[in-house]
Amino acid sequence: MQKVSVALLINGDRTQLEIAPWTTLLDALRDRLHLTGTKKGCDHGQCGACTVLLNGRPINACLTLAVMHDGAEITTVEGLARDGVLHPVQQAFIDHDAFQCGYCTSGQICSAVALLREGRARTRDEIRETMSGNICRCGAYPNIVTAIEEAMKAT
């Protein structure tokens, strides 16, 4: 069985993995590196629960192979807080009750962090459109949009 060597910079930590080429980035994060904050929802790129930041931009970790990201910088929800202080988006999600079951939340937060950094979305419509790759089965959307708006004001 072929194994490929991959170096990844995950949440600031350099990690070397020997993995089978069919391992998705999502499975590598969860099963090999035990970073289980990133969730497996549909596993087909339809729900956004697996959203992580690849070189700062949100992607679906379930639809990409870990071997293709040698040298890449990956940020998961575990890498957003600094010195025990939550990222402003994380704090805004708590302050505005922007979730119910929480399963989609880490993906929502990763997408929202990138949305703020890119600075293109301003209105609620634009936030909704930019976030449409993150499905919330509990329907917490109004509070998610409000949390993002508030985090936008704070940053």
């Binding site: 072929q2 679906n60 990409t64 997408s111 419509d125 459109e129 930019t130 449409s132 993150n134």
Partner: protein, 338 residues
């Protein structure tokens, strides 16, 4: 997912060589469609040739005033590229109408061209599908075919091509640059994708071992009078039931030149010179738009669940031509249709 061998292409020549040496190998770039199809057991490549690191990420002006887009330019980078936003806003708008932020951050320009149909039966390996397994039959004909084609279909296949980007590229008369075992060639968008005929397993006219290296736009970008109007079951993150790329050149209230391309209705982006000829030289009027819509749908055929697309397409065309003529293109974030 089945096991496979993985290799990285060192350069374009190496990619072509590796592909020519193994007919069941597949190139992988963004992987958003291929990895999904491998999970569903629809695609079972023995080898993946990783082309994602090849130097095909540039967007450059051509000597004739057009724009050359490297095959690995990400959909999001293309949509937000200043030159594309300014000179080819139809393309930018169509890309932003498709998929999600995450997928656009992964999907490449070349991969978007090569994405496969979303026909339910193509994905369902328990059912016959001529595209997936030639000769096995078409389950969509007589089956659940709400999302399927109404134009250019065959008895073998009524699948649609799902891309939004390609509909804009077709309207803009883009060309596709490819490199293969026999050298380089250029394919007009109109000839890049195929109608299903009796070989629906072939989506495009790419030959074995050929790789897409770039997409080129001609100088004329129709930046003033254009729209991409996409009708779907959800307001975002859904494939088109019908989409319309409309681009007009208007002079003194008359249409000098018209481009009209439809998505969601055929095995390829659908253009029709006869419909565009109906518009050319005519005043900007509802009757003209309605006539063009009727002409482009003249050979449309419904298969039961998708009968509604024939009327929907005509109405969407008229609405899109109005948006283009008035210079009020459809917003892809405010979903109200003007």
């Amino acid at each position: 997912m089945n096991s496979f061998q993985y290799s990285r292409a060192q350069d374009i020549a190496d990619a072509v060589r590796q592909s020519a040496a193994d007919s069941s190998a597949r190139f992988i770039a963004g992987g958003t469609n291929l990895v999904d199809l491998m999970k569903y057991d629809v695609e079972r490549p023995t080898r993946l040739i990783d082309i994602s690191h090849l130097p095909l990420r540039a967007v450059e002006e051509t000597s004739n005033g057009g724009l050359r887009i490297g095959a690995l330019v990400l959909n999001s980078d293309l949509a937000w590229h200043p030159q594309v936003k300014d000179r080819y806003p139809l393309l930018s708008s169509a890309i932003l109408a498709g998929a999600s932020t995450q997928l656009r951050n992964m999907a490449s320009t070349g991969g978007n061209l090569l994405q496969r149909t979303r026909c339910l039966y193509f994905y369902d390996v328990a059912t016959p599908c001529n595209k997936r397994k030639p000769g096995s039959g078409c389950s969509a004909i007589g089956g659940v075919n709400r999302i399927n084609a109404i134009l250019g279909t065959s008895e073998a296949c009524i699948a649609t091509h799902p891309s939004d980007m390609c509909v804009a590229l077709a309207a803009l008369d883009a060309t596709v640059h490819v490199t293969g075992p026999h050298g380089v060639r250029t394919i007009p968008m109109a000839d890049f994708h195929r109608l299903p005929g009796d070989t629906p397993e072939r989506d495009t006219n790419l030959e074995s071992g050929e790789i897409v290296t770039a997409v080129e736009l001609p100088a004329h970008g129709f930046r003033t009078n254009y729209t991409y109007l996409k009708i779907r079951d959800r307001l975002s993150y859904a494939f088109a039931l019908v989409s319309v790329a409309a681009a007009l050149e208007i002079d003194n209230g008359a249409i000098r030149q018209a481009r009209l391309a439809l998505g969601g209705v055929a095995h390829k982006p659908w253009r029709d010179p006869e419909a565009e000829a109906v518009l050319a030289g005519q005043p900007v009027e509802q009757d003209t738009f309605a006539r063009a819509a009727k002409v482009i749908l003249r050979d449309a055929k419904g298969y039961g669940h998708n009968d509604f697309k024939i009327d929907l397409a005509q109405r969407t065309i008229i609405r899109a031509l109005n948006q283009a003529a008035q210079g009020t293109p459809q917003s892809q974030s405010d979903k109200r249709i003007a």
